[in-house]
């Protein structure tokens, strides 16, 4: 069965849990990791997300991309974590927070000279540090916009927030990060 906009046989794709993991795990893990800033908890949430998606695969109507559907499920799990206040504990612990230094080793290799790479590393660290200062909602909306390339409507659909709320969170997030870069306003 072909679903519009996806171009793949979604039923077959969803029926094989390992194939689903192979294709979408990195994107979902990245989104969850950066949303909650905890690598271990992100692994656990991402795993729950795929198990939940697999159990509820019959309810997938195909009106959005599989990745969007998975990220919606991940969003619900992140929201539950925040509601349960577990997130506070995890955030305080920061024992397994994402390591920018570790990430630097996998930075895009478009910059050839060591100086250029150093500058890219510094900028990336700046953005990462600025992301950490955002609220969970601001960070989620920012990631969906700039990492997943969603527009306001799609973000609203994925997060379950009204479009105006999404817009407010996004604008505040952009302003905060702009300020970190020494914005001109």
């Amino acid at each position: 069965m072909m679903y519009p906009g996806t171009g793949v046989s979604v039923v077959t794709e969803l029926d094989d849990i390992d194939a689903l993991v192979a294709q979408y795990w990195p994107r979902v893990l990245r989104y969850v990791s950066y949303s909650i800033n905890d690598a271990d908890l992100a692994q656990s949430i991402t795993q729950d997300c795929f198990l939940k998606a697999f159990r509820g695969r019959a309810s997938f109507r195909g009106d959005c991309a599989v990745s969007t559907w998975l990220i919606s499920i991940a969003n619900n799990l992140i929201r539950d974590q925040v509601r349960l206040k577990k997130f506070q504990f995890w955030r305080k612990a920061q024992a397994t927070a994402l390591d920018v230094a570790e990430m630097a080793s996998v930075l895009p290799s478009g910059e050839s000279s060591p100086e250029s790479r150093l500058m890219v590393n510094e900028r990336t660290e700046q953005v990462k540090a600025a992301l950490d200062d955002l609220s969970v909602n601001q960070r989620r909306v920012f990631l969906l916009r700039f990492f997943e390339g969603m527009d306001l409507e799609e973000i609203a659909q994925t997060t379950g927030m009204p479009v105006n709320t999404v817009k407010t969170h996004l604008h505040r997030g952009i302003s905060t990060i702009r300020a970190k870069f020494g914005g001109k306003a």
């Binding site: 390992d18 893990l29 795993q47 994402l98 570790e102 890219v120 702009r178 870069f181 914005g183 306003a185």
Partner: protein, 176 residues
């Protein structure tokens, strides 16, 4: 949408205008014109976008470098667990139906026994008992009749000939 001339944009883009350029909605013509004219704002915008894109690419590479788990065993274990739970419920339901319902619905023999139990009180009300009860009540009436003064006597309302008249009336009623 309301359009402004770029002359109204004093200095550089405000935070709100900067965010508006990046939020994915169609870019307003006045903001577009400002970005075309103002090099610092354009460079700032490019730097912002490049930096975020670099982080996005780096984070995806980091995420791809993480080991992929195999969830198939977990799914199989969950399926097995849910099957066991379903079976447990099925057994519980069967036990309820098999043991509970017969206990509730009486058998033919139990019906007969129930009828006997219900019949016993009726048998107890035999003629002999009824007669003894009646005799007892009558003796109580007799005992009370002498001891209990009539209301007329009690309140001294009894006229001299009234007692005889009442006794005569009672005799007449009894005879009838």
């Amino acid at each position: 949408m309301k359009s402004f001339d770029t002359t109204y944009l004093k200095g550089h883009l405000t935070d709100e205008q900067f965010a508006e350029c990046l939020d994915g909605s169609p870019l307003r013509s006045d903001l577009q014109a400002h970005l075309g004219q103002c090099e610092p704002c354009r460079l700032e915008m490019e730097l912002f976008q490049t930096s975020v894109a670099d982080l996005s690419a780096a984070s995806l590479q980091w995420s791809r470098a993480q080991p992929l788990p195999s969830l198939r065993p977990l799914v199989a274990a969950q399926a097995k667990r849910s099957l066991v739970i379903s079976l447990q419920w099925a057994v519980a339901a069967m036990l309820l139906v098999g043991l509970g319902v017969p206990a509730y619905v009486p058998t033919e023999g139990q019906n007969h026994a129930n009828r006997l139990v219900r019949a016993q009180p009726a048998a107890a009300d035999s003629e002999g008992e009824s007669a003894s009860d009646t005799a007892l009540l009558q003796s109580v009436n007799v005992a009370l009749a002498g001891a209990d003064p009539s209301p007329l006597q009690e309140y001294r309302l009894e006229a001299p000939g009234l007692k005889n008249t009442l006794q005569a009336s009672a005799t007449t009623v009894r005879a009838q």
